[in-house]
Amino acid sequence: MQTATDTVIYNRAGQRVVSPDYLLFEAPRTKHFMTGSEAVKEAVKRASVDASVSYPITPQSEAAHLIGELWVEGYVGVYFRGESEFGVMSEIAGCALAGARTITTTSGPGTLRAFENFPMWAGTRIPVQLVLMARGVNSPLSIQPDNLEVGFLLDTGCMIWYAENAQDLFDMILAGFVVAEQPDVHVPVITVVDGFFVSHTREAIMLPPDDIALPPYNPYRAPMPVIDAEVPPGRFLRDPFVMKSNYISYATHASWQWEVRSAIERSRPYAKHYLRGLIEEFGDPTAELVFVACGTAAAQAKEAVRLLEEEEGIKARVVKLKTIRPFPIEELRQAVKGARYIFVPEFNVVGWLEREVRRYLYGVSDAEVIGGPRVAGGMTMPAEVIVKEVLKLTGKEVKHVL
């Protein structure tokens, strides 16, 4: 509760600074109808962001344009177009090293072009936020949703969160800064959505007022000295070559890598709080048929659960994973207790989530894990197709699909 003696703090954009809990959970919300890209803008507007660098690539360009508008309106301190995704991610790193709260966006081939930067971001412990609007990366060219690239990112040392829709994305962007900037976490967070299915889809979203914002980033709580010549030690290289020039430096490097991964592990309690749990459960909790999925695959699985119930009388449920790094190991194991069949529907050909699910359920669950259905290259995964897969397993005919 605010008393008369409390000072009201404003950020540089003139918004009233409120606690993350207030912004995320308590502030009154009103309904708006918008795309996922617009939801990015609304989140950035309330996040006291210092810097953003952009580069065009479909489907993230619109989100990047909108952050540019926020810069014109004074909500973002530094904004420009970089030369390529490799350049952008390096520029963003520079911004973060100099003490800024930063956000950028990319998609598909852009992610791959920038790739060298992601382990660097993690290794240098910058809490950059990358909003990734997943799209196909294979040749031949595709601009459509396909999340193969996320499979590549899993072990870069960045946290990876996966939003299902515009509302998730809005809340995750705000929570992302809060969790990533905890002094004992302080690694990058990649907030993923499936391109087009979220970026270009318009839906209702509940937003808090836009005259309140997150507390600004305090770079002096970072686990490494910020590069601004204002903090000791004065002699400080970020990040040194530790492979030579001194003995036993290999152990340093090993320890450093474990530290980055430890940092992701430390994010669990914070993420649990600010995301209201690392997983979300949907459907009949007693159902033996379980879909484990993230993003749009989770959305489609929810529709399939309804169809199965309404049209086939089959009980099913969805375990939606909100975080992939850290992987919600315990939560998943708890959630699939009693499961007989676990389907892992995915929007890529390799089934990276299936691998993860198998890895963490191995020897823990007796359920049969089925890697599918799977679509790729931008294909839609109609709920009817998921139902068909399930019915195949139970030996039933498909009635409602023509």
Binding site: D184, E230, P240, S249, T252, A254, S255, E265, R266
Partner: protein
């Protein structure tokens, strides 16, 4: 030569992979147990007062006079060393040092074990070290030495230390010194 610690030669497994997380605000961590700050402070003081060659490793945040808190903390580090009968060996910067360090008078986060081995340090306190470097160093010490590590952290703490005190500022450091004086008396030192 080195005596291997609980993790063996490699810095893996690290504490978080054994399920140990930093303590919540207001609490402290002792091995894998969350305890009251005062309990942890007493045990920390006891370790420093009873184990051979206790040493305080102050980091850049307390070594340099860059703000008022740092000046005050430096004074308290000195006092703490007196009460605990501990040596002070500074971690004045974080570079991988070339061509070699002088382990008698300095400690470096990239190879902290050298200083601990050289001086046969069996209990130490990290204070004023940036969290990342404290964590890197504490993992190596945990793996490669039998030194009892105590972290006095201004932020959320370091689970790789054997005792972690979090949110430690001037007031908390004064409290620790007071407790250390009591423990010292109890031990008849």
């Amino acid at each position: 030569m080195a005596t291997l610690g609980p993790s063996g030669f490699s810095p893996y497994p690290v504490a978080v992979y054994e399920g140990i997380l930093n303590p919540p605000p207001g609490k402290a961590l002792m091995f894998n147990e969350i305890v009251d700050e005062e309990v942890a402070m007493r045990e920390a003081a006891k370790a420093m007062l009873t184990r051979p060659n206790p040493t305080i490793f102050p980091g850049p945040q307390v070594l340099y006079a860059w703000n008022e808190e740092a000046k005050e903390k430096a004074r308290l580090v000195k006092k703490m060393a007196e009460v605990l009968g501990a040596k002070i060996i500074p971690m004045y910067d974080y570079r991988p040092k070339y061509p070699k360090i002088n382990p008698a008078v300095e400690i470096n986060p990239n190879h902290p074990n050298l200083t601990i081995w050289h001086n046969k340090i069996k209990a130490c306190i990290f204070v004023g070290v940036h969290c990342h470097y404290a964590n890197v160093a504490l993992k190596i010490i945990r793996a490669e030495t039998d030194c009892f590590t105590i972290a006095m952290c201004g932020m959320a703490g370091h689970e790789d230390a054997m005792i972690t005190l979090r949110d430690q500022h001037v007031e908390e450091m004064e409290k620790f010194i007071k407790i250390a004086e009591e423990v010292k008396k109890e031990l008849g030192k």
